[in-house]
């Protein structure tokens, strides 16, 4: 068949070109030109790998800032928040009863950690992110948590607000995206204030 030779030749040739030469040369360029990003924007503190600037870490320690809810699971399908080996959203529809329950549970946990705070909770703190690994929260969500973290850590709230501002990224070029606070970097900065 006259079609088989070109079909096989082009399949093989483009496999080598697009499947090996292309990704391997991009890998080479990446590791030389942008080694930090290519390897995952890793955060190393005192010689220990503490995570990635881009990947959130779940915590419910009242002395840390909390991130978005995370619906990721472990390899057996049991809940394991911010499992960066198995990204996932909750995929709950707005009408799903579980979605409201998750929000209620989060509100209760926030209230329990800081009974004196009765202001309304920003929605990003009671909803799960799309990847389950969202490293950010909104500035409103950080501001909501400042009194709690300041009290637990015996810090001046004003000083803490300054720290939050230092870890807030404004919109790129002034208009792209949303202002965001990087929660893991903020928490690591809290540790070094000790």
């Amino acid at each position: 068949m006259a079609l088989l030779r070109p079909a096989l030749v082009f399949a093989a040739a483009f496999s080598v070109l697009c499947g090996l030469a292309y990704p391997l040369s991009v890998t080479g360029i990446g590791l030389v030109a942008f080694p930090r990003q290519a390897r995952g924007s890793l955060l190393v503190r005192e010689g220990r790998l503490r995570g990635s600037e881009l990947i959130g870490q779940h915590t419910e320690d009242p002395g840390y800032f909390w991130g978005r809810l995370s619906a990721t699971q472990d390899a057996e399908g049991r809940p394991l928040p911010t499992n960066a080996a198995n990204s996932s959203g909750s995929n709950l529809a707005p009408s799903h009863p579980e979605l409201r329950k998750h929000a209620e549970r989060r509100i209760a946990a926030l209230r329990q950690a800081d009974p004196s705070n009765t202001s309304t909770v920003p929605a990003d703190l009671v909803t799960a992110s799309a990847s389950g690994l969202d490293p950010h929260i909104s500035p409103a969500a950080a501001a909501y948590q400042v009194p709690r973290v300041a009290r637990v850590r015996h810090l001046d709230p004003e000083k803490l607000r300054t720290l939050v501002r230092a870890h807030t990224r404004d919109r790129t070029l002034g208009f792209i995206g949303e202002p965001c606070v990087n929660v893991l970097e903020l928490n690591l900065a809290l540790e070094s204030m000790r």
Partner: protein
């Protein structure tokens, strides 16, 4: 809608329209085998490949020969993918020791990537080895995209040529599209993505010490976080530019390693729309009438803006189910207390409502299917917009090549309907549209539509299929409808709560993807062959001009009318019912 949202929308569309013309002209030159600036670099490679394959650059194919070549080449790709999936545990670049894929998901995934759908019944980071991602999935991302553009080129030649049979050579088109368009653009885009934070490494996954231990379900504390990495940027670039959409990671472009910032997200939206929009200019150049391409582009842009406005409005209103809780879903913009507001379940903070709805419109309007937020968690009306964009046949910019050739089929239908109204033989670009073309055009519309509706009906009738639905009530129906809308129109995104890795969904969506791709591509080639054989009639006083605003409006109306008539009943059972129930 805030001023800031408008600014982001305007920036993407503005840059898109600025780039579309030069890129479209360039692609037109590549498709017409004219000299381009990359010749000194690429020409020797191109010639070498032709020699190896035993073909000539001047080879001719009629529409049947062209179609056969597409089919044979797709078959070879399918077998190669299957072989790779089944033997990845024996091959190198598998640092996480991923086992071979089971047959069901292997076959479904092979069909998915060969048809440019990239429906994913598996979770990338926990299923595929690095070699499979590169040598299997990345390669098909290139080739399935090239096939779409090639078929469009054949159709343009059919419209241009008179009393001819020759539609060009599929092998030459495939080679030139891959070497001169897709590879250089991907290379450039991949490096930009790495600079912005997308990972690209072949090493094993780094393991970090967690801030504080996480209590596991079995009571044992989890102390470490395994950070899945891989050759992501190289796959991401072509996933976006080829409107493929198959993510390296399970959560696709919502994963911060796949889409690290609002800027990378905006660039991905631009990348998704870039080739489909530019091809309108290539088409205009190929048929020697730029106004024709511009009219099609205008219709696409109009549909895009309508969908984007509706989707953004629906999501920014928030989730009524959270009413009564001490939660604020209101947008706030005071410095130090900014909050995106809206329905934030399944959305990433860095994108907010604006970045997520823009991405969702682009990805479902084209047949891309990459997602930066979970469509399953969209408000019912937001979900409806994404469903409808797919059901319209992926013509709002559309897949690379396939979007424009499907839009051209709608243009043929539009002149046919106009012809019926005034009682004249319809023409498009000087070619008489007769019974054969109209029949083939109807097939292009009817085959995917039937596949959506029959597939969804089966999915809600068979008990084994019902178990896959993860959400109760009307939304469960929407999940099935979304799955078949996506598969039958080669989109690939999902209401991802659906348990898609089951015998029913693996086989049913597999068939739907095949029907959606080849059930449209083959009739389009038949139209191309038939049009090529006709002579060109000069426009008379009764000819409907197909480049003015009147035609643009007519085209938009036909697309919306056909879509609404076909899918309104199904949409009423799913998102519309859910919306009414939720509003209470």
């Amino acid at each position: 809608m805030t001023f800031n949202s408008l600014l982001q929308f305007a920036a993407v569309l503005g840059v898109l329209l600025l780039l579309a013309r030069p890129l479209g002209e360039y692609m037109g030159r590549v498709l017409e085998r004219e000299a381009v600036f990359l010749d000194p670099l690429v020409k020797p490679l191109e010639r070498g490949l032709y020699r190896l394959a035993g073909i000539e650059a001047e080879d001719r194919m009629d529409w049947k020969g062209y179609a056969l070549a597409v089919l044979v080449f797709s078959g070879v790709g399918l077998v190669a993918l299957l072989a790779l999936f089944r033997t990845q545990h024996l091959l190198p670049f598998n640092p996480q020791r991923q086992p071979p894929l089971p047959w069901g998901v292997a076959l479904n995934t092979a069909l998915s990537f060969v048809t440019n759908t990239n429906w994913q019944a598996y979770a990338g980071e926990s299923t595929m080895s690095h070699l499979t991602q590169m040598l299997g999935l990345t390669v098909q991302n290139f080739l399935s995209a090239a096939k779409g553009i090639a078929v469009l080129a054949a159709l343009a030649r059919g419209l241009r040529r008179r009393k001819a049979t020759n539609l060009g050579s599929f092998w030459v088109d495939l080679t030139r599209i891959t070497l001169y368009i897709l590879l250089p653009l991907s290379m450039l885009f991949a490096v930009v993505l790495i600079a912005l934070g997308v990972v690209q490494t072949l090493g094993p996954n780094p393991v970090a010490t967690l801030l504080s231990p996480i209590q596991g379900v079995d009571g044992k504390p989890v102390l470490h976080q395994v950070l899945a990495v891989g050759p992501v940027a190289s796959q991401e670039a072509i996933k976006i530019l080829g409107t493929n959409g198959g993510g390296f990671f399970n959560s696709n472009s919502a994963h911060p390693f796949e889409n690290p910032s609002a800027l990378s997200s905006l660039l991905q939206v631009l990348g998704i729309l870039l080739i489909p929009a530019s091809l309108c200019f290539s088409f205009g150049r190929m048929v020697r009438d730029r106004r024709q391409g511009l009219a099609l582009l205008s219709a696409m842009t109009l549909l895009f803006l309508m969908a984007l406005g509706a989707l953004h409005w629906a999501e920014q209103r928030g989730n009524p189910a959270l009413r009564g809780l001490p939660v604020t879903q209101v947008l706030a913009d005071q410095p130090g207390a900014e909050h995106p507001g809206g329905n934030l379940e399944g959305k990433e903070s860095r994108f907010g409502i604006t970045g997520t709805t823009l991405y969702a419109t682009a990805t479902t309007g084209t047949s891309c299917g990459a997602v930066n937020g979970m469509h399953d968690s969209f408000t019912p009306l937001g979900g409806l917009v994404t469903l409808l964009l797919m059901q319209l046949g992926e013509v709002v910019f559309g897949g690379v090549g396939s979007g424009l050739y499907t839009m051209l089929v709608f243009a043929i239908l539009a002149v046919f309907m106009a012809g019926l109204m005034v009682g004249r033989t319809p023409e498009y670009l000087g070619k008489k549209i007769e019974a054969f073309e109209t029949k083939m055009a109807s097939l292009v519309i009817l085959i995917p539509a039937a596949s959506v509706l029959v597939g969804t009906a089966l999915a809600v009738l068979l008990p084994a299929a019902l178990a896959s639905l993860s959400n109760p009530g009307a939304h469960g129906f929407s999940e099935a409808l979304y799955a078949f809308s996506s598969a039958s129109n080669n989109n690939g995104s999902a209401f991802a709560g659906l348990g898609a890795n089951t015998p029913f969904y693996n086989s049913a969506t597999g068939i739907a993807m095949l029907l959606g791709r080849f059930g449209t591509l083959l009739p389009v080639l038949a139209i191309a062959g038939s049009l090529a054989s006709k002579k060109r009639t000069p426009p008379g006083p009764g000819t409907l001009p197909t480049h003015g605003p009147l035609f643009v409006v007519m085209l938009v109306a036909v697309v919306l009318l056909v879509g609404a008539l076909t899918f309104l009943p199904a949409l009423a059972l799913g998102p519309i019912a859910e919306h009414l129930a939720l509003r209470g």
